[in-house]
Symmetry: C2
Subunit: 356 residues, 2 copies
DNA sequence: ATGAAAGCGCTAACAC
DNA sequence: GTGTTAGCGCTTTCAT
């Protein structure tokens, strides 16, 4: 009896063709040991012949696990986030998890519930919240977190009790940037920050500020300006900053795009970099080595960040399954986790000792 | 009788609590009309109270459709691809489809079968193959395509019979770049191509070449060099090209990154842009406006491309469902589709009339 | 080593 | 309007 070619092959079709029960087929495709070698061979032959592929939906429903992770992102069009995704996809593949992707419309998207419910209704085994902390975009999450049964891990946000976090140490990034300028002999070091409702922007600024203070240097409001991460804002910001802080000989700029804007300003106004002004950026996007002059910048590894996040999340999932097996309830509180990845400095041509 | 708090709420729990059958609950949550208003209210109240969320896995299994799309990508860390994803996620959200993400390890990843099977076993309703055509990375697909029951749509590849494609018109991009230079009065126009195993690189080069020929100008092998898309290669390429083709007054470079490398070379060697050499790039990544000088470049809309691709794929899915309803088999051949999006030119400061 | 039965959570089809 | 039955494709008991 031929099979309807428009229907997908099921385990039953294979069972029938092999003259065994569907249970035996199930055993074979799951590599269980308790199958006679001859039976196994026969079944596998039929599987091949019919082109049978197990239906993961059915398997997931029955096993109560999907081997999939929900991935929540925002601003994929920006370089940083998409490199992180790169690491996430690679590691997920490695650990044999599928990714279900949800991109928020913007960074301060507040309707967290609909996103979470969407993912949970799909029965994902864990959730990766790869959205930077901006404004109070953690508020809705804070409400859901305690009652959430599914493991969730956050990227790039402030440490909070009960929130598992994997992040770049942005403050350390600010610190090494400023230390580099200090070592070159700079004393008047300004800062162009990202928008301060971004946690990352605050941390980078904090790194700048505290390092200067620790070096016994004074920090005033005239010494910094905030941009919005864009090159255009960087260009405006450097202009403002040069007016407010004309003695400045070095500046730490919170991302490479803004630094690029500053470089353009410098060219337009005949300001020589690094002779008259040293510039340190942040991110080390691949192009920075080809800016003019090549940019000294804080390097951090988005890719590794993504990999690490997936590893930790999967560990959380496994751990929780173990706990459930033993009948132990798992509280969110206990899921505290903080992984912090250290950035490094890439020195190029936009920094030098100050002229005097 | 209290419900085990560790178990997820099911439709049965709601039914029981509301004193109706699970079927009635199903009707309510699916917004069917044939439910008494009072019953509906009661059920909805219980749904709310218990925090019930339908299990999409079960629904998908029973309905034989998942409302999800498989998204295959490569090179997410590059700017272009990730902007496309941006459009794809937005449009998928809009049309209420979930995305299952698969990133290939590299552009010429050949083990197409495992990727396809992974997605198909998850029962995705359609597949978006958002990987550029490079080398013969379409070969494995060609074998699977005829027997594939699930609609699949390709981004950024050559037109082929039976392959639904949504793409940017790269040749037109090359054409408008060269036309711009011609209009400025340039006669010696070189080209830095991408790696020619990329279909997009070939098309851009073709646009350059054919436009020059149509203008009655001669094109020789000394007039172009291939890079690998990176800024470093662009820098090397411009050096080579200037040697081979010293009369050159204008150059069309196949992407912005390579153009950036060329700009750095120009700075280092005191070659004035645009006075001595006009440069046109391709992509119009946001930073190009802040290169020095600001880059004239071919703009194309990755975001719209992604949106359009999702729309077309969903249309294919709907169409096929209709056909199946009428009992008509759908052949892949009939699924031919070619959407081509026209790029535009963004004129900035890296182009001018040739000297004298 | 293999099979039968029940169940995962939902919906389609048919009753009443 | 609402309930009953069967089934989506698989796995998990529990027999044998």
């Amino acid at each position: 009896m031929p099979i309807d070619p428009n229907r997908r092959i099921t385990i039953k079709d294979v069972a029938e063709a092999a003259g065994v029960s569907s249970q035996t087929v199930s055993r074979v495709i799951n590599n269980r040991p308790d199958v006679a070698p001859s039976t196994r061979r026969r079944v596998l032959a039929i599987v091949e012949e019919l082109g049978y592929r197990p239906n993961m939906l059915a398997r997931s429903l029955s096993q109560q696990r999907t081997h999939s992770l929900g991935l929540v992102t925002a601003g994929l069009k920006y370089v940083g986030p998409s490199r992180t995704i790169n690491g996430i996809t690679a590691q997920a593949e490695e650990l044999d998890y599928m990714l279900v992707l949800k991109e928020l419309r913007h960074f301060e998207f507040m309707d967290v519930d609909s996103v979470l419910d969407d993912l949970l209704s799909r029965q994902v085994d864990g959730i990766l919240w790869a959205v930077s902390e901006v404004g109070d975009n953690r508020k809705g999450l804070a409400q859901r977190l305690p009652s959430l049964k599914t493991p969730i891990l956050f990227l790039t946000m402030a440490q909070r009790k009960g929130w598992p976090v994997v992040k770049i140490d942005n403050r350390a990034g600010g610190r090494i940037a400023v230390e580099h300028l200090l070592e070159l002999g700079h004393k008047r070091i300004g800062h162009i920050a990202g928008p301060l409702k971004w946690w990352e922007a605050r941390m980078r600024k904090n790194g700048w500020e505290s390092t200067l203070r620790n070096a016994g240097l004074e920090v005033a409001d005239e010494h910094w300006v905030a941009g919005d991460w864009s090159s255009a804002s960087g260009k405006r910001a450097i202009e403002q900053l040069l007016t407010k802080f004309p003695e400045m000989t070095g500046v730490f700029i919170a991302n490479d795009q803004m630094a690029l804007g500053a470089l353009q300003y410098a060219h337009e106004h005949g300001l020589r970099v690094p002779e008259q002004l040293s510039i340190v950026g942040f991110d080390d996007v691949p192009e920075t080595a080809f800016y003019w002059p090549a940019l000294t910048t804080v390097h951090h590894d988005h890719y590794t960040l993504g990999c690490r996040a997936v590893k930790e999340l999967v560990a959380m999932i496994d751990q929780r399954r173990q706990a459930e097996l033993w009948g132990m309830p798992v509280e969110q509180e206990s899921q505290s986790l903080l992984v912090s990845i250290d950035p490094t400095l890439t020195v190029r041509d936009s920094t030098a000792a100050p002229a005097h």
